[in-house]
Amino acid sequence: MKSVSQIRKRTALIFLIPVTIILLSSALYPLISTLYLSLTDAELENFLNPNYVGFINYIENYEGMWYGVLADSLFWNSVRNTLVFTIFSISLEVVLGISFALIMLIENKLKWFVRAAVLIPWAIPTIVSARMFEWMLQDQFGIFNYMLIGLGILEQGKAWTTDPQTSMIVIIIIDAWKTSPFVAILVYAGLKALPNEVLEAGKVDGTNGITQFYYIIFPLILPAIAVAIVFRGLDALRVFDLIYLINAGSKDIMSMTVYARREMFEYSHFGFGAAASTMLTLIIGVIAVIFIQRTRLHKLDEME
């Protein structure tokens, strides 16, 4: 007769079959076929039966001119935009997230309201937050320009979302508004997990709160912050909806995902778009591996 643990192991494997099937059919298969399609001439007409063409979607020298994703300045422009977006939005979110988390720790009558308010931006769909900010920043009737004019800072309304100089800043701010709460919640949980004495130590010496925080609390919540950065970073690197909604065609803010999707569904260059997606995946993969190595996040399990 089989032992109980053997039966349990067998049952466990059976229970994992559905997950495995779904992940193989809906993640691995499309991933591989995207890789393959990036090596074909797939367009709308021959999408189900494309021809293999090698690496020309990536790079090709034709009569002295370079073609392909890697030779497209718009692609590199979108890479740059994505990196700028990621670095600045995450820096802002970490600073805001930590500040919010510390404010969430304050024990008084407003405590519940702070914790509730912080969750609201997180629950609001990106499309809705994009539209809300677009409306507040609208050049003629937007409340933001109205306030600035009232304060005498501006003479007339500014089109913040379409101005090439400000559109990236606007997008970073909308993203920070929407996702700082997520960082705040992770950091707050990290702070809550600390022994009470650590938090008390910071309170006693109230005059030097910032130094205390920097030297005592910050190192202890660094793992929580690192986790938040990884999650947010991977999210930011694949940013799509926000940028697509604010200004889909603008090359000042176009992200890698917007670039790849545009090639596929606006120009029907599916092979080329697949090559762009593959490059994007590679870039994100390399950044993720470097970051995880650097922060030793893969050892987080052992730290528990």
């Binding site: 349990r8 229970f15 993640a27 298969y29 405590k111 990106t126």
Partner: protein
Amino acid sequence: MNKLYDKIFKYGLQIIVIIFCVFPFYYAVMTSLEGSAAVFVPNFFPTEINPKNYIYLLFEHNFPNTILNSLFVATVTVSISITISYFAAWSLSRVNFQGRSMFLFVILAISMFPQIAVLTGMYQLFLNFKEFYFNIFDLRVKGITSLLWLCFTYTMFNIPFTVWVLTTFMKGVPKEIEEAAIVDGASSFLILRKIFLPIMTPAIFTTAIMAMIAVWNEFLFALTFTATNSDRTITVGIALINGTVEYEVPWGSIMAASVIVTVPLVIITLLLQGRIMSGLTAGSIKG
């Protein structure tokens, strides 16, 4: 005196955070309640209450339909992914077998995938699916092809998350609870139904709500795989609200749509505040 300053300072900080987080939503609610003339006068408090924007959405726009579509996709997706993940979570949290951490690692890696990485392959699969589906079923049910396809793709993007969170929650259940049942010779299936289900219900509920919010908010796939007015989901629906006159953006209606879509989420989130916070942290920290 110093203490009073300290108190005021703390309240001040809290109020700044509350205003920062709530103001954009408040402003959307306010705009949505104003008639067409008042919308275009900037102010902080509503000058009138006019349901015009909501009435326009409900009767002249395809909006109710998009809500039904989103509800359909969210319900199907979440039921399937939660059921499958519940069993998988038990395997991954309570049983020691070779390759367990490898399996968890792969799941985490997939959850971090950029959706665009699979989009081309997914689209090709979609065209094949459509052809196959059209050959089997008659015209009457063709309308939901895209929605069924969305259910499939969302299930895939939800499963890594739901498996991960449920595994973390299940790890927290004390061993003794299960051991007694094992000694009694109960099958794993019975243990999962009779012992874990009651304990796990709150966690399952939280996970389901979070998965539902994720589906509700998804945009890239919804935009790619829905092509007609009848099969749009809410996010695409809002993105496509346009005025009757070109260059005239109907901000009142857009804000009304945003409010309709967001209010249920905000209410759920506020009611389940503590649970969602623990769900969010289970989804990332422990992993």
